[in-house]
Symmetry: C2
Subunit: 335 residues, 2 copies
């Protein structure tokens, strides 16, 4: 296992290139500060469909198709599609990918899905198994509320620590050749559960997993703490980010000033009434596939660590008194 | 992509070895014809826990721990765990794997999960990313009924074409070294949906995907139809198997006499009142990790194609009038 380092990390011998990407979002995300960076903002939260679940699948289908088209490829050129979402039995990804008729891996890592897909996709390319792989993650506010929280029609008041599930999708096309930023290394997350039970504060539930994978990444690869220009977590939100800096400091890793969070970037936290910020598989995926990828391409960022974070509970386990396990996957991208 | 062949297949350069495996099942499976082959039959369907979901997680935890122990390893020696199940948000796998604190990939492919885990695990080993990988899949009759069908307390009558979800788990340890049968090739399935809507006949819904992946496997790798001693599908059941032979014949592939199905082997279809046979992620996983692996080890089988099959619907999508997409992954194992 010559490409394995330390506890949970790999370095790629021929770092796969992100040759293309696409991000499509819903209306609320289109009113946020990153609006201009997305490929498309849909004014219709149903994406022309009849149900929220169908809407998410259509969003997924459109985004993958656009990413592949922007790469100058046909879908038949893609060897594998990795996709994950939050709906029961990955319905968003599965019904979205159905029409592509391509080899398909469904992933479940909650909001860490994009990190898992990019991690595994890069491994398949560097391992000699594929030339083109798509990694995708999606979420839909209404579908997620229905799956995890309350019927929207109830108008339930939200807790100040709660996050707002992004209606959005991000897809990247990874390749063994071509031009673009490269995935140079990846650290695979373990399930970490410190006993958090508050489903209205998922940022706090995911922080220990984020701290764990970031600390392992630096230790495994023996990197100085200033190696990355930027470290972007998935959706820890306003409260989670502060906790993460504290936990990492205890490990001797000080990344203050270099840390940001996709969930805090996608909305205007002052004006958009989203409380702790954005969340959902589509949050980190759409922000990475638009905003960050542009910055990597135009040299505003040269090296970044992308760390999508996921809260792995289900309604049933929480009702049974279980705690919220977290996971995070770290993907290093360099120009 | 030197290891890629045809449309969806890979051949491994250094075929990963299945160095160890474990299978644990519930009481009903212990009364079936494969009873003696399982490592453990639990008389308690709750596996000492309070709920069915916790029971499945405990079953998963025990089975993975046993497979790793039988390999003479500690859990810390394992670089990656792949696991999938049927519960919403993969709860069976996630709460089961939590205590291992190892790099974790959650998979969703419904009952095809074991095929996906062995496929990806073998790729990570052959790609130089790991020395030891665990692939696992679990299911629990009561948890699956609650998730997909009716409350058990209703005593709802079952359709003759319905299958019985196996309470069971199978885990394999794959390695870059060591002795045992080897994973020589794999074909990754695409989502195939011919419009079946009957959730009481999932065999029929999965058959097109099984036919698709088996046909691609033979074509991609240019194999004669008598290459394998045995082709074992996951859980097509009594009705699905006949359909599969017909579909493959139309493709010019005649595997009559070589085809079997894990769902038809695990129960006594005459005596155990399971209608079309067994199903669930744990069905093919537990049958492979016990019965078939023994046959591979003692030369009763020299070459087999293992084809776990999955029905990718959710309760919500079916209620919305959607059809049942199927998927199947083919893994070639040779002595």
């Amino acid at each position: 296992m010559k490409k394995h380092f330390g506890e949970a990390s790999v370095k790629f011998e021929n770092p796969p290139t992100i040759i293309s990407a696409a991000a499509i979002v819903g209306p609320k995300e289109g009113e946020g500060p990153l609006s201009e960076h997305f490929d498309k903002v849909s004014a219709d939260i149903l994406f022309g469909k009849d149900t929220w679940e169908q809407a998410e699948s259509e969003l997924m289908r459109q985004t993958v198709a656009l990413a592949v088209q922007k790469a100058g490829l046909a879908i038949e050129d893609v060897q594998y599609i990795f996709a994950g979402d939050l709906l029961n039995q990955n319905s968003g990804s599965i019904y979205g990918a159905r029409s592509f008729e391509r080899p398909f891996y469904g992933l479940f890592g909650a909001c860490s899905a994009m990190g898992m897909g990019m991690n595994l996709g890069a491994k398949l390319i560097d391992g000699g198994f594929a030339d083109y792989v798509v990694a995708n993650a999606s979420s839909h506010f209404c579908g997620a509320e229905k799956t995890f929280r309350f019927p929207l029609e109830l108008g339930t008041q939200r807790a100040p620590t709660a996050s707002w599930t992004v209606t959005g999708d991000g897809a990247v096309v990874l390749s063994s050749k071509g031009k673009g930023p490269r995935i140079t290394a990846a650290t695979t997350g373990s399930i970490v559960d410190l006993g958090m039970k508050d489903v209205n504060n998922m940022g706090a539930a995911m922080v220990p997993a984020a701290a764990d994978v970031i600390a392992k990444h630096f230790r495994d690869l023996n990197l100085p703490t200033n190696h990355y220009d930027l470290i972007a977590t998935g959706d820890l939100g306003l409260y989670g980010q502060t906790l993460l800096l504290q936990l990492l400091k205890q490990e001797g890793i000080d990344i203050a000033g270099r840390l940001t969070d996709c969930g805090m970037l996608i909305y205007d936290l002052e004006k958009q009434d989203v409380h702790a910020g954005g969340s959902g598989c589509g949050c980190s995926a759409s922000v990475f596939a638009s905003y960050f990828l542009k910055k990597l391409r135009n040299s505003e960022i040269n090296k970044m660590l992308f760390v999508p974070t996921g809260a792995l509970h289900s309604v049933v386990t929480i009702q049974q008194g279980e705690t919220i396990p977290g996971i995070a996957h770290a993907v290093a991208i360099e120009r």
